[in-house]
């Protein structure tokens, strides 16, 4: 058991290593000054305080969506609706931030609660459809993304829009609805702390609570859970809704921490990135911040590289694709794993003789 999980870890590291090498080869081909470009990509995020903060702030929503997706993946269910849950969470948070009286502390808390509830409601739809009608949560959660997007934009446009701004953004939030700063410069907000608290909460939820036990058991073996007395439809529903709450909060963090207004014109893509994070973290909440920081690092590095060299930031999508391909490819390094297992079995067999 120990061996196979450390194997997974090594496998992911090897996959990342190979991808980085491939990325370098790509840079060699495309850049006039590849060493310079790749250096910015690899070291850029750590080269200045501002960039370190940028990279950490970039990772925060990824931690949340990574956690959200992990919860559902643990139950062997699908959730590609984190995107919409996050978006609608941001919209609901924006509404409370703008419309609610400006009371210290209480205001920001209410913003978060609103975002959480919005995310939960959004996740409840695929949850109910799946648990009551056995409708594929894959399809319905994807559909809900578009509903969230258009409905959210409509709502912002008609009720919350700042008409003095030149484009579609909401009014600026009052200070009482700002997420406090850890460090006033460069918008270093409390998001990362809240995210790490949620890592612990989600870990506790999955490994120390009844509902967590139920989620994990139906993920391991649904029929077994059913025979053991676990209410499978309820558990599926709960996993989706809890996941939606976590994703919804991510939306609130983005608007209250970084922008202090709602300004998304597109789905930001964090929900889909959450799937990558969950995949890299093997659905383990403790692994999620590492995977999210890694992805955030790559993203930030790519952006810096784009600013500083002739390479385009899109290269990171190629790298990402390599990593995902290698991590999800069951056969990658599987001969090595199989050989390890064979050796162990033969040894055990000899001991039994």
């Amino acid at each position: 058991m120990k061996k196979t999980s450390s194997f997974e870890f090594i496998r992911i590291l090897v996959a990342i290593g190979i991808s980085l090498i491939l990325g370098f080869l790509l840079t060699l081909l495309l850049s006039k000054d590849p060493i310079h470009a790749y250096k910015y990509f690899l070291y850029g995020p750590l080269s200045k305080t501002r960039r370190i903060i940028e990279f950490i702030n970039n990772s925060v929503p990824l931690i949340f969506t990574g956690l959200a997706v992990s919860i559902v993946f643990k139950a062997e269910q699908f959730n590609i609706g984190a995107e919409g849950q996050l978006f609608i969470g941001a919209v609901a948070g924006t509404a409370v931030a703008i419309l609610f009286p400006h009371i210290q502390i209480l205001h920001i808390i209410l913003v978060f609660i609103a975002a959480m509830i919005a995310g939960m409601l959004w996740a409840a739809v695929p949850g109910i459809l799946k648990s009551k009608l056995n409708a594929s949560e894959l399809v319905s959660s994807l559909m809900m993304n578009y509903v969230a997007f258009y409905l959210g934009l409509y709502f912002v446009n008609y009720y919350l829009r700042d008409k003095n701004a030149g484009f579609l953004v909401s009014y600026k939030f009052p200070k009482t609805a700002w997420l406090p700063y850890l460090y006033r410069r460069y918008h270093f907000h409390y998001g990362i702390i809240v995210a790490l608290v949620f890592v612990v909460l989600v870990w506790y939820l999955l490994y120390r609570t009844k509902i967590g036990y139920e989620i994990r058991m139906i993920g391991y073996n649904l029929k077994f859970s059913e025979a053991g007395g676990i209410n499978v439809p309820n558990t599926i529903f709960s996993a989706q809704v809890i996941s939606g709450a976590v994703a919804g909060i991510a939306g609130a963090i983005e608007v209250t921490g970084l922008y202090h207004r709602f300004l998304w014109q597109n789905l930001p893509g964090y929900g889909f990135d959450g799937i990558i994070v969950a995949l890299l973290a093997r659905n383990n909440p403790i692994g999620v911040p590492f995977a999210a920081l890694f992805l955030g690092y790559l993203r930030t590095g790519a952006r810096i590289m784009e600013r500083q060299s002739d390479m385009s930031a899109e290269m990171v999508t190629v790298l990402q694709a390599f990593v995902i391909l290698l991590v999800t490819a069951q056969a990658f390094l599987s001969t090595w794993k199989q050989r390890m297992i064979e050796k162990a079995s033969r040894k055990e067999e000899e001991e039994n003789e």
Partner: protein, 518 residues
Amino acid sequence: METPILEMRDIVKIYPNGVMANKGVNFKVMPGEIHALLGENGAGKTTLMNILFGLQAPTSGEIFYKGKKVKIASPHDAIRLGIGMVHQHFMLVPSLTVAENIVLGMEPKRGVFFSKEDAYRITKEIGEKYGLEVPPKERVQDLPVGIRQRIEILKTLLRGAELLVLDEPTAVLTPQETEELFDALKKLVSQGKTIIFITHKLREVKEIGDRITVLRNGKNAGEALVKDVTEEDMSRMMVGRDVELIIHKTPSKPGEVILHVENIEYTPPGHNKLLKGISFSVREGEILGIAGVEGNGQRELIEILTGLREGDSGSVKVRGKELFGATPREIRLASVAHIPEDRMARGVAALASIEENLVVDRYFLPPFSKGKFSIDVKKIHENGEKLVKEFGIKAKSSVVPVEMLSGGNIQKVVVAREFTSNAKLIIANQPTRGIDVGATEFIRNRLVDERDRGAAVLLVSADLMEVMQLSDRLIVMYEGEIVGYFDSLDGLTEQELGKYMLGIKKDAPEKIKEAVVS
């Protein structure tokens, strides 16, 4: 000496989960013989044959076919060599006709169009050639199992099979169909075919086998000519010692009725009625056995009793409480334990740890719950370690995932859970199927212990030895009905019971009503 048509040398197969299913097996088949491959469930027979047919790659080992070393990477390779396989579960398209199924993948064409007439003709011809006649124009879904099996055999013959592998072909057949199959097999052999016959029914081996190879626990356990050995010899080879297990059992002292089942009816969607009014009762301190060939409604009955399937109508009362249509949790909370038929599907979560598997029915109750929402992992761990020791589960600790255990130890995890819930009713479905003798003996004795503690036990088993050894009273199911009832097993022979199981003999309705006691 004649060259064997097939020789498999030193075959080792280790599955990705670490299970070593074949541990250096040697297997030799001579041309023109019916060779029985014998062994208990889990002995490695199916793995060996899957390797032969290219469905599994061996970890190491060599295969020789007609004296030449071959590499079989896929069923295509196997078919090209002339090896055909008839699986336990038929691989036919039910909505197509017999002829269409037989020519599937090698359809006769006129121009670019599929020629039905040619397909009918081919089917008729090949059927006549081998004495396996089938109705070419009928749809497979309308035909009985025996005919479907013939279609499978014809399919392999049409593809040029010279060596036929039949995986437990009689498990699904009636006695008459079995006879017909055997006649057909003999005819095939007389026409120069060679047959490998996987089974664990010794009587059948005696009837048509020429030679046997016995596997036990993934290794060779013996080879012999059928005429040189008795059924007892064969069973000894299969299990490794005399089959008589030592079960300590005193006469039962039944008390009040715990389980009362009345008139259960069940119709699977789109099928005929499967359960036709099942009624019986079980009292505390006794074991009621349900015997019968698999597939006669036992599985569905148990699933209805345990809340895993919805029946049409009827009543299930446990200590007077109506539980027909209740959820599995409600039923378990009414003091019912359930050892499911298929341990990997319903008995355990293979990837979860032993200790987590041991609390699936009680993690929400004290002492394992902590407050309204939390669980106490320390208590769960202590419980795990305690039960691993108490039930002799071979594992380094209770945090090991269940998938790392052997079949017998996995079943011990299941019974360790179900026997420690202090249930008033224990429903055990095939509790010792496919596990080693030691674990079998242990589990059977524990079942008797549970009975003596005052539990009512409902035991379903396809293993005649098991039901006869353990049951205090016995009912026999055949085609969704109770066809026999015995209020005592004294003097009951296997042969007599067999007649009921095959539907040859049936008790009068008045006698069957006695299965309900009060």
